[in-house]
Structures are given as structure tokens and as C-alpha cells.
């Protein structure tokens, strides 16, 4: 059992936003496969079909995607959250986005009746004009939106950060000032792939975000820097597919880890990773994950 911002996670692995999070059923499946908590697909104020395909491809290193925040709007999604909440006993975190503070609050309140256990503010999607990282690169906007949502809801608020900034710590501090209960790092890294046979950018949106193993070293560094600067917990995400990967993020400073792209092979990645963490803690005679959160900072 792991406690993050007052939520009791069954284990330190969490389903990342936008992965298998479009339906309640898919999220329930992830919990059954071992996820200690789940984050929903990012939900906005209006239905959105997202960018045209190809919207995700596997590269030699990692994946690149530009889904474009497809979602049925909070009005249609509230039932999906209800379905998960009824079926499982792990925290369900609603990922939400909007173009400004008012929209964020509209979505949060719209989902409120389904009692999500926390909100994760997506101010970090790198390929959604006017949303996500467009907002998340500006500390003032991040602080404002965080504070406004924080004031409007009475569950923990997590703020998901983009690595596509000169200094992620500036943005993390803004979230903390705005009252965030935790930050989540990192969203995908701005990237692009071109089809050499034709010259066409492969993604329908032309560019997108890099995820998977390619970005883990970037995530580790972001988490390490945030841990040094912030007082609130950090939830690590980026390229985790084995327990070793997750321990690396935890040692950098993460209190829990989210897993995204790695469900490609099997949802049981959650079970494998959390069992692996447990075995590791046992072997090293640690009482719990707290013993290793951020220990890289002490190893000098």
C-alpha cells in the first residue's frame, strides 16, 4: 500500500493518462492486471475526435503519438468514471484539460458527480493547439489554473508537467504555489517522424510526442530536479516497462510511477512491475518504497 496525496494506492504503479482510459471497462481491466490506481483519458469540455491517423507509431526507440485529445466530453464521460469507481477499490484520477481556468473548472465540476478520487490537470500535451503544453509552458497560467481548480474541488489536484520547457522546475514551482497536491512528470517529448519513402510526416498531425524507453532518461532528470526543488510529491512517468525502470524513477524522487506505452505488450506490466518493486525492497531489506524515494540525491 502506498499513500500519495492522501490516496491509498494498492501499489506504486498507476495507469498513465490517455492509455486504455477511454472506457470504464478498459480501466477496470488495467486494475485487474495490477494497476494500483488509474488515470482516465484527458477529458475536455466538448467532444473531440482528435487528429487524423496515423496517430501513433512505434519507432526503433520508443513511440510517437498525436492523438489530439480525442474524448467524448465530460458530459458523456462521467458514466465511465462511475463504472470504474463501482467496480474497483483503487483510486480513479480524472485527467482533465481545457483552454483556460474556467474550462478546467467546468470539466472538473462536470465530472464531480462520479466522485473521482483526484484530478490530474493536463497542461502538458505537446500537440494540442491552445491546450496542454501551450498552457503548461507558462508558469503564471499554470499557477492560475491550478489555484482555480484547487479552490473548486475538494479532492487532491495533480498537475502534469511538460518536459518541453527550458526549466521544468519553474513550472513545478508554479503548480506548487497554485496549491497542487502533487506534480506528475513527464508528459511526452515534442517529436516528429518523417516517412523517407515519400517525405510525408508520418503522424496525421505531422508532429507529436515521444514516449517509451527513449524518454526515460529525460524523465529521470526532470524528476530528479523537481525533487530537489519542490515540497510536494512527484509522480514519475516516462518509459517505464520493467521494475528496474520504475525503481530508477523512484530513486530520482518519484513517490509512484505511471505506466503508459508499455501496456502495448500486456496490461500485466502493472503486476510485473509492482511485484518487482516489492521483491527489490525485500531483498534490500527496505521497509517500504519510502526508503528509496529520492535516494539518488544522497548517493554522492
Amino acid at each position: 500500500m502506498v499513500n500519495v496525496t492522501g490516496l491509498d494506492l494498492k501499489n506504486p504503479t498507476i495507469l498513465a493518462a490517455g492509455i486504455m482510459g477511454t472506457t470504464g471497462a478498459a480501466m477496470i481491466r488495467m486494475v485487474k492486471a495490477g494497476a494500483g490506481a488509474v488515470v482516465t483519458k484527458s477529458i475536455g469540455p466538448e467532444p473531440k475526435i482528435g487528429h487524423s491517423n496515423p496517430s501513433m507509431i512505434q519507432l526503433d526507440c520508443g513511440y510517437i503519438n498525436a492523438m489530439g485529445l480525442p474524448n467524448p466530453s465530460y458530459a458523456d464521460f462521467v458514466d465511465e468514471i462511475r463504472i470504474v469507481k463501482e467496480a474497483v477499490d483503487v483510486p480513479v484520477i480524472a485527467s482533465i484539460f481545457g483552454g483556460d481556468a474556467t474550462e478546467f473548472v467546468q470539466v472538473a465540476e462536470g465530472l464531480g458527480s462520479a466522485d473521482p478520487d483526484a484530478f490530474e490537470l493536463n497542461v502538458s500535451c505537446p500537440h494540442a493547439d491552445g491546450y496542454g503544453a501551450t498552457i503548461g509552458s507558462d508558469p503564471a497560467l499554470v499557477e492560475d489554473i491550478t489555484r482555480t481548480v484547487r479552490d473548486a474541488v475538494d479532492v487532491p489536484v495533480w498537475v502534469k508537467l511538460t518536459p518541453n520547457v527550458t526549466d521544468i522546475v519553474d513550472i513545478g514551482k508554479a503548480a506548487q504555489r497554485g496549491g497542487a497536491d502533487a506534480v506528475v512528470a513527464i508528459n511526452t517529448v515534442r517529436a516528429m517522424a518523417i516517412d523517407v519513402a515519400s517525405g510525408y510526416p508520418i503522424l496525421g498531425n505531422r508532429f507529436g510526442g515521444l514516449s517509451g524507453a527513449a524518454i526515460r532518461p529525460i524523465a529521470v532528470k526532470c524528476i530528479y530536479d523537481l525533487y530537489q526543488a519542490l515540497d510536494i510529491p512527484i509522480i514519475g512517468v516516462g518509459g517505464v516497462s520493467t521494475w528496474q525502470d520504475s525503481v530508477e524513477l523512484i530513486m530520482a524522487g518519484a513517490s509512484a510511477v505511471q505506466i503508459g506505452s508499455a501496456v502495448v505488450d500486456s496490461p500485466y506490466v502493472f503486476r510485473h512491475v509492482s511485484n518487482g518493486i516489492e521483491r527489490y525492497l525485500d531483498e534490500k531489506d527496505h521497509a517500504g518504497i519510502e526508503d528509496i524515494i529520492g535516494i539518488a540525491h544522497e548517493m554522492i
Binding site: 492509455i19 486504455m20 475526435i49 491517423n53 496515423p54 501513433m56 480525442p70 474524448n71 517522424a193
Partner: protein
């Protein structure tokens, strides 16, 4: 994987709205029922079953398929695949029933070829709107007996594949493979379930695919959360019991759409 650049080396107009495109790339490891993501550059990327080891058969229904069916020899497409799980392979001496509706015969035809080559005993029921829209009839004929139904009676029996099934003893088959419009597949499913043989049946499903590789969750089925693109597109009848199958699917934004 990135899309593989694939050149069209031959096309066959199967019906007024459907064409088969043969590629210079052959997906030799592909199992019947597996699909590829077909990228018409600058337009869209859509899932298509492999109707041969090196071909897809495309029915024109919208933007991207209109673009594809207009392509000719020498044109190219970007192809990712083979993806997903195909059909359970039949074995020699097993009795097989194919039930196909329209372009739904595309994933079944390679399996019929396989059945022919191993000498399985095959019966096929092919449904179509009219005789023009019948596809791959010869490939099924090679494999065994074929019953045709058309909506307008222009070929075979006038009616639906389910009418034909009602006249048959479906319990005599070891495997039943089904593909076609969902409403038709669901009728077949109900028919087989009534006779308690849906556990021997496999259905090739269609859902809206975004990633096509099992990450995004766009294609998940209720209430199991099974991914059509990765855990399917072929599912056993038992997996579809009390599911959304035949009732609703999801749009690109995730809203439910009635079947």
C-alpha cells in the same frame, strides 16, 4: 514499426465498389484474420484485413477508402503490420463453416485457401446485397460447398445468411468463422448461441482504431476492456457474450453509437 513503403503491382476490381490491391511486399508470417494499418499519405490511415498474403481488398465507404480504390498499379501506400490476432487454424479432417457478409469475406478467404490446402471439410455461406457484390466465391468453392444469399435474390437464395443457417445443422461443425457487418454477425451469433455452439465460432470485429497497436484504448470492448486491435480483431463467441457486440460501438471521440 514505421509504415513500410509498399507498391501496388496489380489490382482487381472485385465488385463495383470493391478492389483488391496486390503489393510488392508479402506478409509471409501473417495469419488469416490479421490486419494491417494502411496509410494513404496525406489522407488517413485505416485498418484493412490481408485478403491474400500480399493484398488487401478495399470497399469504398468514405474518404480514405475512396482515395485508396482510386489508386493504380505503381502507386504506393504505407503499411504497418501484420497486427492483431488471427483465426484459430483449423486442422485436417475438421469440419469448417464460413459465414461471410459482403467484404467480410476478405479475412475468411485466406483461411478458406488454408483449409483447401490442408484438406479440411468446408461449407461456406456467403451473403451480399446482390450478385455483383459477391467476393471471393471461387476461393470458397475451391474449399467446399458454397451457399449464396443475396438481399435481392440476384444470386443464390433471396435473403440473409441467417436464413441459410436456420436450414443447416450448425452443431456439426468444429469451427465456425464469421465476418461481415456487425448486425449480420450478431444475428449469426444469436443463432449459434441458441444452439450453444458459439464457443466454436470466431468473429472478426470492427471498431474505430486510432493507434492500432493496443495502447490508446480507442477500440476497447465493454465490459471486458479487450482491445479489438490487439487482443482481437478475432474473438471467440464466448468472449462476446453479454458484451457490447451487436449493441453499440464507439465513435472516434469515444461516444457510444448504436449498431
Amino acid at each position: 514499426m514505421r509504415p513500410i513503403d509498399t507498391r501496388i503491382i496489380r489490382t482487381i476490381q472485385e465488385t463495383p465498389s470493391t478492389r483488391t490491391f496486390f503489393f510488392d511486399v508479402s506478409f509471409d508470417d501473417a495469419q488469416p484474420g490479421q490486419f494491417v494499418m494502411v496509410w494513404a499519405r496525406g489522407v488517413d490511415e485505416v485498418p484493412m484485413t490481408l485478403s491474400y498474403i500480399n493484398a488487401i481488398t478495399v470497399q469504398k465507404v468514405g474518404d480514405c477508402t475512396s482515395h485508396i480504390v482510386a489508386l493504380s498499379e505503381g502507386d504506393s501506400l504505407g503499411i504497418r503490420g501484420p497486427l492483431g490476432n488471427g483465426f484459430t487454424m483449423p486442422e485436417k479432417d475438421e469440419r469448417i463453416l464460413f459465414v461471410a457478409g459482403g467484404v467480410g469475406s476478405a479475412p475468411l478467404a485466406p483461411l478458406a485457401d488454408r483449409a483447401t490446402s490442408i484438406g479440411a471439410s468446408v461449407v461456406s455461406v456467403l451473403g451480399a446485397r446482390n450478385s455483383d457484390e459477391l467476393i471471393f466465391e471461387e476461393r470458397f468453392s475451391q474449399a467446399g460447398e458454397v451457399y449464396v444469399t443475396t438481399d435481392d435474390g440476384s444470386s443464390g437464395r433471396c435473403g440473409f445468411v441467417t436464413d441459410q443457417l436456420l436450414d443447416m445443422d450448425v452443431a456439426m461443425f468444429d469451427h465456425i468463422y464469421v465476418c461481415g457487418p456487425e448486425i449480420m454477425m450478431y444475428k449469426v451469433f444469436e443463432n449459434l448461441r441458441d444452439k450453444q455452439v458459439h464457443g466454436r465460432a470466431e468473429f472478426s470485429l470492427h471498431r474505430y482504431f486510432k493507434c492500432g497497436i493496443g495502447v490508446c484504448g480507442a477500440c476497447c470492448m465493454d465490459p471486458t476492456g479487450l482491445r479489438v486491435c490487439k487482443d482481437g480483431p478475432v474473438f471467440n463467441g464466448l468472449q462476446l457474450e453479454s458484451s457490447e457486440f451487436g449493441k453499440y460501438k464507439r465513435s472516434a471521440c469515444g461516444q457510444k453509437i448504436s449498431i
